[in-house]
C-alpha cells in the first residue's frame, strides 16, 4: 500500500493488528470494520480477506450470514423495529404499518433524504415495554402508531434545528 492511506484504512489496520490478522477473529474484525465505515464496502471486504488470508468468498459468506452486517450504507438514524414475540402480540405490525406509511420506505430501505433506515429485528429483549423500537442507541417502548410517528417527527425536528 502507498502512503496515501486514508484515516479509515489506518484505523482498520490497527484493528487487524489488534486481532493478530487471525482468521478465528473474523467476526470481531468485521464488527470493528463496520464501526469504522458504517457498513462493509466491497473493496474493504477484499482488503480484510487479503490481510487475514481468508478467501474473499468466505469473508463475504460470513458478512452475509449474520444480520448485524450491512453491505450498504444506512441512514443517519437506524430504526430497529422489534418483531419479537411479545412485540408481535402487542401490535408491532401496526407500528410497522404506521412507520412505513410515514416514511414511505419498507423494511431494509433508506429514506431519500438519507435520514432514516428501517430494519426489522428479532428481539431487543425489552419485552416488558413492547412494542419497542430502537433508534440508534435510544430505546422507545410502549409504542402506539401515533407515538411512533411523533418520535420520528422529533428526530426530524432535531435534524432541522442542527441544520
Amino acid at each position: 500500500m502507498c502512503d496515501c492511506k486514508d484515516e479509515k484504512i489506518r484505523a482498520l489496520d490497527e484493528v487487524l493488528d489488534s486481532y493478530g490478522h487471525d482468521s478465528g477473529n473474523l467476526i470481531g474484525i468485521l464488527q470493528k470494520t463496520q464501526d469504522i465505515y458504517g457498513y462493509l464496502p466491497a473493496d474493504i471486504i477484499y482488503y480484510v480477506a487479503q490481510q487475514t488470508g481468508i478467501s474473499p468468498a468466505k469473508v463475504l459468506g460470513v458478512a452475509t450470514f449474520y444480520t448485524q452486517f450491512r453491505l450498504e450504507p444506512v441512514g443517519k438514524y437506524l430504526i430497529m423495529l422489534c418483531k419479537g414475540t411479545a412485540c408481535h402480540v402487542n401490535g408491532s405490525d401496526r407500528i410497522e404499518a404506521a412507520v412505513t406509511a410515514e416514511l414511505g420506505i419498507q423494511n431494509g430501505e433508506t429514506t431519500k433524504d438519507g435520514l432514516f433506515t428501517l430494519k426489522n429485528v428479532a428481539c431487543l429483549g425489552c419485552c416488558s415495554l413492547s412494542p419497542v423500537m430502537m433508534i440508534n442507541e435510544e430505546t422507545f417502548g410502549s409504542l402506539t402508531p401515533d407515538k411512533a410517528i411523533s418520535i420520528l417527527n422529533d428526530f426530524r425536528k432535531r435534524e432541522e434545528e442542527t441544520a
Partner: protein
C-alpha cells in the same frame, strides 16, 4: 442514606438514565446521601424504579419515577422525610410480584451495584470459588450432581453429566463456553443476569472451568445486548485485577482466563455446535453430532457449553449445598427456573420460582392476570422451538416432562401470554416467518420445509387457504422434525403442531369461512364506520395514512375498502366509538 436507580436495559428504555442524571444534577457537595445504580430487579412494569436505603435496609421503593420527581426525591432525602414521597411508593399488590418468588439465579439482581466487584463480594461473592479451589474437581461435579440442576437453556440436560464428560475427555487443552446468545424472542433473563450480576456469571464459569479442567473460558454474548457487554467487560477487568481470573487464582495453582465474544445476530448460534463455528469466525452452521463438543468442540478440543442461567446458579449451589437446591422443585426438575413473563399480562417481568408450581399461579397470582379484563387464550413457552399451551391446561406444573407432554417445552423461559384477541394461526405464521429467516440453510428439511410451511400459513391468514392445508402442514411438520439436522429445524414445527392441536377451529374458520375469529388477520377484516354514530369530526380522515376515509365535515364518513391498509389508526382515534372491525 443511599438513593439507588435501577439501570437495566428495560429501566433505561423507560427513562432511568434521565432520572439518574436529574438526581445527580440536583445533588451538591454538602449532601450526605449517596447516589448509586443497580441492575434490573425484574419488575419491568414499574420502571423506572428508585430505591432508598438506610444502611442495608430498604426504606422505600419508588416506582414509575420520572425526571420531574427528582426535586421531590432529593428534598425528601435531605430532610429525612421519605413519607412525603408516598405518592411514588410501590403498591402492595405490586410488591407481591417479588414476594412470591424464590430467587437464586437472580438473587443479587436489582440489589447490588453491577459495576462494583465489592458490592458482589459483600453478598458472599467469590466465596464459592474459594471453597471449590480447596475441593477436587470430582467433588465439585458430585455436588452439582446432587443439586440435580439441568441446563437452563431449554433442554434441561444434567449439567454434571456434561461437566463430567468434558473432564473425562482426553487432552490438555479444554474450553468452557457460556452461551449468552439469548435468541428466543420473548426471553431476557440472561441479559438481566449479565447486566445486573456479571460477577455471579464469572464465578459460576470459573467453578465450571475448574471442574472440567479448562484454562480458557469464553462468553458468547448477543451483539444486541450492548449494555450487557459493557458490564461484562468491566466485571472481567475487575476480577482480573482482584486475582480471580488469570494465573494461579487465589494461590491455588489453578489458572483460567475469561474473555467474551459478541455474536453478530443469528438465532441458530444458540445451537451449541453452530455457536462453536461462530466462535471460530465462521458462518454459524451446526455440525453433525457426534462427535459431541465434550469430545471435539471449539478448535476441535474438548469443550463444555452451558447457558448463563445455569452458571448463575452454581455459586449458590456450592455455598448452600446441592441438597438445598434439590430440595426445591419436582422429582425430575430440581431447583428454580426464571421466566420472562410478557404479553398481555398486568405485571410483566422476570419471575423466578421453584419448579413444580402451575402456569396458572405464575400468570394469575404473580403476573396479575390479563390486562383490560380480557380472557386468556394461551401461553407460548419456549419461543420458536416451543408451543402454545391453551387455557384449559394452565394447571400443568412447571416441570420439563410435564411441559413437553403438552407439546410445548420449558425452553429458556420465555412465557408470552396471549388473550382472546391473539390469532393463533397468526402466531404460528409469526414463528415460521422467524425460523424460515433464521434457518442457516445447511439441511434441506429445515431450509425448504420451513419455507413451505410459511407459504401455507401465509395463504391461510390471507384468506387463500384450501381444504387439506391443515393435513399438509401436519405432514410437513413430522418430516421436518425427523429430517432436520439440528435443534432449530427439529423444533421449528412445534408452534404449528400445538396450535393445530389446540386451536384447529381457528385454522378451519380461516380456511372455510375466510374469517379470523380473533379479528387480527388484516386481510380478513374490514374497518367500517357506523353512520349513526359518526359525527363527521374528520379526525379519522386526517389520521388515515393512505387517505382511504372521505366525507363532508359533520356528515358520516366512509372508508374506501380498496385503499384501506387496515392499520387501525382510525379506530384508535375515534372518540365516538363509530368504527368497528368486521
Amino acid at each position: 442514606m443511599r438513593v439507588i436507580v435501577g439501570q437495566g436495559s428495560c429501566g433505561i428504555a423507560a427513562g432511568a438514565g434521565k432520572v439518574y442524571n436529574a438526581l445527580e444534577k440536583l445533588m451538591n457537595d454538602q449532601d450526605s446521601f449517596k447516589l448509586g445504580i443497580t441492575g434490573c430487579i425484574g419488575m419491568c412494569f414499574l420502571e423506572p424504579i428508585v430505591d432508598i436505603y438506610e444502611g442495608e435496609d430498604l426504606k422505600a421503593r419508588l416506582v414509575h419515577v420520572s425526571e420531574n420527581d427528582a426535586d421531590a426525591i432529593v428534598n425528601a432525602v435531605r430532610n429525612n422525610d421519605i413519607a412525603s414521597l408516598s405518592g411514588l411508593f410501590i403498591k402492595d399488590e405490586d410488591k407481591s410480584f417479588l414476594d412470591q418468588q424464590t430467587r437464586i439465579a437472580l438473587r443479587n439482581c436489582g440489589i447490588i451495584d453491577p459495576t462494583d466487584i465489592n458490592s458482589y463480594k459483600a453478598r458472599d461473592g467469590y466465596k464459592a470459588l474459594e471453597k471449590v479451589l480447596k475441593m477436587t474437581p470430582e467433588e465439585v461435579i458430585e455436588e452439582v450432581k446432587t443439586s440435580g440442576i439441568g441446563g437452563r437453556g431449554g433442554a434441561g440436560f444434567p449439567t454434571w453429566f456434561k461437566w463430567n464428560a468434558a473432564r473425562s475427555s482426553k487432552g490438555e487443552e479444554k474450553y468452557l463456553i457460556c452461551n449468552a446468545d439469548e435468541g428466543d424472542p420473548g426471553a431476557f433473563m440472561d441479559r438481566a443476569v449479565i447486566e445486573s450480576d456479571p460477577h455471579n456469571l464469572i464465578e459460576g464459569m470459573l467453578i465450571g472451568a475448574y471442574a472440567i479442567g479448562a484454562k480458557e473460558a469464553i462468553v458468547y454474548v448477543r451483539a444486541e445486548y450492548p449494555l450487557a457487554i459493557i458490564r461484562l467487560d468491566n466485571a472481567i477487568k475487575q476480577a482480573k485485577e482482584a486475582g480471580l481470573i488469570g494465573e494461579n487464582i487465589l494461590g491455588s495453582g489453578f489458572s483460567c482466563n475469561i474473555r467474551y465474544m459478541a455474536g453478530a445476530g443469528a438465532f441458530v448460534c444458540g445451537e451449541e455446535t453452530a455457536l462453536i463455528e461462530s466462535l471460530e469466525g465462521k458462518r454459524g452452521m451446526p455440525r453433525l453430532k457426534p462427535p459431541f463438543p465434550a469430545v471435539a468442540g471449539y478448535k476441535m478440543k474438548p469443550s463444555n457449553i452451558n447457558n448463563v442461567e445455569t452458571f448463575a446458579n452454581i455459586a449458590w449451589i456450592i455455598n448452600n449445598g446441592g441438597e438445598a437446591f434439590a430440595a426445591m422443585g419436582t422429582e425430575g426438575s430440581k431447583g428454580t427456573k426464571v421466566f420472562a413473563v410478557t404479553g398481555k399480562v398486568v405485571r410483566g417481568g422476570l419471575v423466578e420460582i421453584p419448579m413444580g408450581q402451575t402456569l396458572r399461579h405464575v400468570i394469575f397470582d404473580i403476573a396479575g392476570g390479563i390486562r383490560d379484563g380480557k380472557q386468556i387464550k394461551a401461553v407460548q413457552m419456549g419461543g420458536p422451538s416451543g408451543g402454545c399451551i391453551p387455557e384449559r391446561l394452565l394447571d400443568t406444573v412447571i416441570d420439563y416432562k410435564a411441559l413437553s407432554a403438552t407439546g410445548a417445552i420449558m425452553g429458556s423461559g420465555g412465557m408470552v401470554v396471549m388473550d382472546e384477541n391473539t390469532c393463533m394461526v397468526g402466531m404460528a405464521k409469526f414463528f415460521l416467518d422467524f425460523t424460515s429467516k433464521e434457518s442457516c440453510g445447511k439441511c434441506v428439511h429445515c431450509r425448504i420445509g420451513t419455507r413451505r410451511m410459511l407459504e401455507i400459513l401465509t395463504n391461510i391468514v390471507e384468506g387463500k387457504g384450501k381444504e387439506g392445508d391443515i393435513e399438509l402442514l401436519e405432514e410437513l411438520c413430522l418430516s421436518i422434525k425427523d429430517g432436520a439436522l439440528c435443534g432449530l429445524g427439529q423444533t421449528a414445527p412445534n408452534p404449528v403442531l400445538t396450535t393445530i392441536k389446540y386451536f384447529r377451529d381457528e385454522y378451519e374458520a380461516h380456511i372455510k369461512e375466510h374469517k379470523c375469529p380473533s379479528k387480527e388477520c388484516r386481510d380478513l377484516l374490514s374497518y367500517v364506520i357506523n353512520p349513526d354514530k359518526c359525527k363527521g369530526c374528520t379526525l379519522c380522515a386526517r389520521k388515515c395514512p393512505v387517505q382511504a376515509i372521505s366525507g363532508e365535515t359533520k356528515q358520516p364518513h366512509t372508508i374506501d375498502q380498496s385503499k384501506c391498509i387496515r392499520c387501525g389508526q382510525c379506530i384508535q382515534g375515534c372518540k365516538f366509538d363509530a368504527i368497528s372491525i368486521e
